[in-house]
């Protein structure tokens, strides 16, 4: 009964304050008001506090906090009120309103402003009013969070007032949680407590779990089953979210693998050329991004935000041209000798690595991450960073574009014709050497695109490509050679499987297990997940 009465009074009081706050918010606290804190006895002090609070000035909060903590002093020489912090044997002084340094003073020159518990309570309420009810969203949120942490029953009425007025869902949720925690702490009725437990359990996040776990020891025995049920419910929910989170990480890793492997799916899968320099094409794409950013920095700093958009076509063209040069210079002499192609392109990868190392140096080069790719987005219990999300989008776009090129353009038609039956295609008037060069250029260009994307999540160094080459081959072989859809499925399933194993085995062991599984899988299906059937496989 007593609590209910108290709460009623609290609400009434808060309503008054609420009504008064907007009108008073315009006025400013001044030095005279602050100095008044140091004069007279407790009643005068209380009045002075009320005056300060009534201004609604945000600068008042730290002053009141200092007063409550016993850090507010009067300087005896001029009667000014200062915030003092002990520095050695003396005190360092600060102006209460502007935070200016006022030098130091000996303990004898200062007079501590006395405070009692009654005043402390009033100050706490006042601070809450100025914070929980503040017009600034961030202030309110941090105030609500601090109340959740301290769970001080004296702030209860204030919290309820604030809750009634709150519109922001995130703050509201924190406030509700804090309210329930306080209810659990006070001597409320069992029903109220049970309702509070329900509220907390309904939140279903980690904060709620902490609250309930702490409550498990303090609540009356009658409520323990409820608390336990709440904990179980939250755990189930968290588990679901963690599965979803793993899935999201897995898809994200899968999209990176897809990007890295899809160029290889063209050169290896469609052309049957083992390009061990594929990783270096990715690396070159990353360095193109770096160069583009350097050029923009010098000539058009305003366009830095869009450097990646410029780097995409640049990287595609550059690595595509390098790819065409490689095909014309080396690979065309080695058609029909896949193992030799493997060795020659490996040699090429060493040359490219060393060349980049000689030109750009062996250390990581910094690549700027544009504003629109930083930060993260929260979806329920999921946290996804923007750069991962953009890479996913980019991978899907590249995949779709490649499908279009292969299936809907004359070049794609010619490519497929040449790979299916070179002599027949040649007899039909297709310039097969040209098509070979274009196909290899396309595969290399796509690798360059992957390089642009990888600058956002990996170090741009000459060894960048090395880390992806084995993974890329695994994806292509796993998915089935000569089939872009297989590559997509292969990349996603390897990515997801990897992320689901990580919590149990750790990153490295998880990767080893994946490799072993793929090796075993290839034994079962030597031609991959989506094998080509019929005569094309083994003439």
């Amino acid at each position: 009964m007593a609590t209910r009465l108290l709460r009623l009074i609290g609400v009434l009081l808060a309503c008054l304050v609420l009504a008064a706050t907007p009108a008073l918010a315009q006025s400013q606290a001044n030095a005279a008001m602050v100095d008044a804190l140091g004069q007279g006895g407790f009643p005068q002090r209380e009045a002075a506090i009320a005056t300060l609070v009534a201004t609604g000035d945000a600068r008042v909060v730290p002053i009141l906090q200092a007063l409550s903590d016993g850090n507010l002093y009067t300087r005896i020489s001029d009667g000014k009120v200062v915030i003092a912090a002990k520095a050695g044997s003396a005190f360092a002084l600060k102006g209460p309103l502007d935070g200016s340094e006022l030098g130091t003073a000996a303990a004898g020159d200062l007079d501590k402003i006395k405070i009692n518990n009654g005043l402390r309570g009033k100050i706490r309420t006042a601070i809450g009013q100025m914070t929980l009810l503040s017009t600034d969203r961030a202030t309110r949120l941090s105030a609500a969070q601090s109340i959740l942490k301290t769970a001080d029953p004296t702030t209860f009425e204030l919290l309820q007032t604030a809750l009634a007025a709150e519109t922001d869902p995130q703050i509201k949720s924190v406030m509700e949680l804090a309210e329930a925690v306080i209810v659990l702490k006070t001597d409320a009725t069992l029903e109220q407590k049970r309702a509070a437990i329900q509220t907390v359990a309904g939140h279903g996040d980690r904060d709620a779990l902490t609250v309930l776990t702490a409550a498990l020891t303090t609540v009356p025995d009658a409520l323990k089953p409820d608390v336990q049920a709440g904990i179980d419910a939250i755990n189930r929910q968290l588990q679901l979210w963690s599965v979803a989170q793993n899935l999201a990480y897995g898809v994200s890793l899968g999209s990176v693998l897809l990007l890295a492997a899809i160029g290889l799916a063209i050169t290896f899968g469609v052309m049957g050329v083992i390009n061990m320099a594929h990783g270096e094409m990715v690396m070159l794409g990353a360095y193109v991004t770096f160069v583009v950013q350097q050029l923009l920095q010098s000539y058009a700093p305003g366009a830095m935000e869009w450097s990646l958009v410029i780097a995409v076509p640049a990287a595609f063209l550059f690595t595509g041209l390098v790819g065409i040069a490689i095909e014309r210079g080396i690979i065309r002499w080695l058609y029909g000798r896949p193992l030799e192609t493997l060795l020659a392109t490996w040699g090429l990868s060493l040359i490219l690595q060393q060349a980049v190392r000689s030109i750009f140096g062996p250390t990581n080069r910094p690549v700027l991450i544009p504003q629109w790719m930083t930060g993260q987005v929260s979806l329920g219990g999921l946290d996804i960073t923007w750069n991962r999300l953009w890479i996913l989008v980019f991978a899907i776009l590249v995949f779709a574009a490649l499908q279009l090129v292969l299936n809907r353009t004359p070049l794609g038609l010619q490519m497929r014709a040449v790979t299916q039956n070179r002599r027949m295609a040649s007899a039909m008037g297709i310039r097969t050497p040209f098509v070979d060069a274009m196909t290899f250029g396309l595969g290399s260009g796509v690798a360059g695109l992957a390089g642009v994307a990888l600058t956002q999540i990996d170090n741009v160094s000459p060894n960048l490509g090395q880390g992806y080459i084995i993974d890329s081959f695994m994806v292509v072989v796993f998915g089935g050679v000569g089939n872009l859809w297989g590559t997509l499925i292969g990349a996603l399933s390897i990515g997801v499987a990897n992320k689901f194993m990580e919590p149990y085995f750790g990153a490295v062991l998880g990767k080893i297990i994946i490799l072993v599984l793929i090796i075993l899988f290839i034994q079962r299906r030597p031609r991959g997940l989506f094998a080509l059937k019929g005569r094309a496989v083994e003439p």
């Binding site: 030799e340 040699g347 695994m474 030597p526």
Partner: protein, 389 residues
């Protein structure tokens, strides 16, 4: 039967090679230990283990030649067998340190004390015995090759697919050995050896003996390989290399032949690794790096695959070149190595020895040359996309 095989193995080339190797086995320690310091032919101490290292690399290249040059299996994971043999020997050498380690633990090697091991892991049991370690040098790579090859060849994983999964194998092993809790010293590997069979590994005499042992082991390996490739089995291997499907249709058990060659090759590689470790003084997981395994391929290719002599020449030549190059122009070694890969595959597909033999044979009446593999079935045909709708 065995003596008959051995006799066949002693064709002219193999005899010359074995004699040369035995001569080197005597000459190098002689030049180092017997000749006085001022003598013009005296060999400084530091060169002996270096030459020994080249010899074990040559043996590794020979092992690869058996599977690649004669059986058409391009393994990109032979470094793994080499490293496993090396680890087995390294474990023996670690156990021999005894109380002389930094922590002075009589049972546990230093890294285990450092990583808070309380007892010796079970897979370290027995390695204090030299003969057990020798057995493991042969068994571990052999069994791994058997299991891996059995699975791969039975399901007809061929050509580049096999190359890629052997590469994945060595990559997976590298990741595993880099882990500290795997029980093999993590990324530091095994090092700081003291004794082998009671002799100080650092003394000049031991090193001379190790060098001689490496040469003799290489000579034995040459004999074994020569016996295999000159036998009927060797002919089948070449047939598999050149036309796998046709050989299968003729009724040969292609899988078993390949498996045999693969296991023998892995064992030779393991022995090479075991001889490498005491001379170099360290074994660590970087030996498993896929790049190392591909480098072995280029030794074999430069020397001439399918010749047995070629890989030995290539292994010695390229490693000597690497030592010189990396000390004189360290920045250009990768250019040179990469360029070599490209040039050899484009212009010297038969390697040095193969090309010389061709030149010599040009005067003689043309003979079917089996050093150059022909195009084989599936792997060479261009793979196709799904047909357009």
């Amino acid at each position: 039967m065995i003596s008959a095989m051995l006799l066949r193995a002693l064709d002219r080339r193999a005899v010359w090679l074995v004699c040369a190797l035995l001569l080197v086995a005597l000459a190098i320690p002689f030049a180092n230990l017997v000749l006085p310091e001022g003598h013009p032919l005296h060999l400084p101490n530091y060169l002996v283990p270096l030459l020994g290292k080249y010899m074990s690399y040559a043996m590794l290249a020979l092992a690869l030649d058996l599977v690649w040059g004669y059986c058409g299996i391009l393994s990109l994971g032979h470094g793994a067998f080499f490293a496993l043999g090396g680890y087995a020997m390294g474990m023996y050498l670690m156990r021999q340190i005894g109380t002389r380690g930094v922590y002075g633990n009589p049972i546990l090697p230093d890294f285990m004390v450092f990583l808070n091991y309380k007892t010796l892991p079970w897979f370290w049991y027995g390695f204090d015995n030299f003969w057990f370690a020798c057995l493991m040098v042969v068994l571990v790579p052999g069994v791994l090759a058997f299991v891996f090859g059995f699975l791969a060849f039975r399901s007809r994983v061929t050509g580049v697919y096999l190359s890629i999964i052997t590469q994945a194998l060595t990559y997976a092993l590298m990741l595993a050995f880099f882990r500290n809790d795997f029980g093999f010293g993590g990324n530091n590997g095994l090092t700081d050896y003291k004794d082998i069979l009671g002799f100080n590994v650092l003394s000049a005499t031991t090193r001379g003996a190790l060098f001689a042992a490496t040469c003799i082991a290489l000579a034995v390996a040459v004999l074994v390989c020569s016996a295999i490739v000159n036998s009927k089995l060797g002919k089948v291997m070449v047939a598999i290399r050149d036309a796998e499907s046709r050989t299968r249709f003729l009724g040969y058990r292609v899988d078993n032949v390949k498996l045999f060659a693969f296991v023998v090759s892995a064992v030779i590689a393991g022995v090479a690794g075991a001889l490498y470790v005491p001379q170099v003084g360290i074994i660590n997981p970087s030996e498993f790096e896929p790049g190392n395994s591909i480098e072995i391929v280029i030794w074999t290719a430069v020397g001439g695959r399918g010749t047995l002599v070629g890989p030995i020449v290539g292994g010695l030549l390229l490693n000597f070149g690497k030592t010189v190059f990396t000390s004189l122009w360290p920045d250009y070694w990768l250019f040179a190595l990469g360029g070599l890969f490209v040039l050899v595959t484009l212009f010297l597909p038969k390697g040095i020895v193969g090309t010389i033999r061709d030149l010599l044979a040009r005067k003689a009446p043309p003979r079917r040359d089996n050093t150059q593999p022909e195009a084989t079935g599936a792997e060479d045909a261009p793979l196709v996309t799904e047909p357009a709708e």
